[in-house]
Symmetry: C2
Subunit: 181 residues, 2 copies
């Protein structure tokens, strides 16, 4: 951020009075521009035979890899509505959103990810513009080696483990930056 | 938003290609400025005798009314860390954050509120700059008529009800705009 979104004058990074961290402050109109974490909302769409719907990404990052439908929560919606909307956009699939299943903190990229369990309502799905393909996978068919994101792997592992016990428990974790080799 | 935070040129509200809603787009550098919901993080600090710590607000909105310690989650922290930080700032109180207890969607103000159960670690608390006073309340002492926010009332009601059953269940709700009389 270099300029004030309200008046167009330059901003400076400075600690406001009674604050505890530096903010971008306008040098003309004194507006304080706060920057806060963003929420990713997604779901685990489960068909009645137990298979789960995954999307192969047509966009960066992780183009070509498989993921659960998820994306940035938008203003004006509830988290579960955002999860359903992302599923419709990425897989043209209709879901009934169930319980919140996982919350991941990714402080190194200023994100909180909220993943819900969901029931896939019909088999009339197809790739949205951000997906190369969408497909149902049984547990033994999940493309573990070509999953796009660590929270997706963790969530799927826990989902299948929980399902065997007959009880879905809420999961939460703080993720560290991935180690680049 | 009227000006581009990156180059200072005017922005226009327009639907980007392959998007589904209007965004502020720079007329010069074409940067798309997304606006997303913010996260409020807070906790229910419980002392070992069952009393709960509330703060009386020294700031607007709801100056003079009682609330649980909570505030905007910051970049670079996990949600539970934000809840502990807010408790330290508003009540100079140290807590151990426990399970996520409630998630509230407030789409009409573009907020998601995450409230955690917490253990108050000692009785060395005092008002922070945003609080007029901080005080422990037993269930029958809670100032129900002077609570600042509906989610706080709901959370406290459910917390005391759950505590009687011996089991704390995760709660979630979508809140409508309050009715102004």
């Amino acid at each position: 951020m270099k300029y004030c979104a309200e008046c167009g004058a330059p901003v400076v990074l400075r600690m406001p009075h009674d604050d505890h961290r530096e903010r971008y402050i306008c040098t003309e109109c004194a507006t304080i521009h706060y920057q806060n974490p963003k929420i990713i909302v997604g779901c685990i769409p489960e068909w009645e035979d137990g298979r789960v719907l995954l999307c192969r990404r047509a966009i960066e990052p992780r183009h070509g890899l498989w993921t659960l439908p998820a994306g940035f929560m938008e203003n004006g919606e509830a988290a579960w509505q955002g999860a359903a909307r992302e599923t419709l956009e990425e897989a043209n699939a209709r879901v009934k959103i169930l319980d919140l299943y996982a919350l991941y903190n990714l402080p190194y990229i200023n994100q909180v990810q909220l993943l819900f369990r969901a029931t896939l309502l019909d088999l009339d799905f197809s790739p949205g513009v951000e997906s190369l393909e969408v497909q149902l996978f049984a547990e033994n068919e999940i493309p573990w080696d070509t999953l796009a994101f660590r929270p997706i792997r963790t969530t799927l592992e826990q989902f299948f483990a929980d399902r065997k016990t007959g009880e879905f428990k809420f999961h939460t974790a703080d993720l560290e930056p991935p180690v680049r080799k």
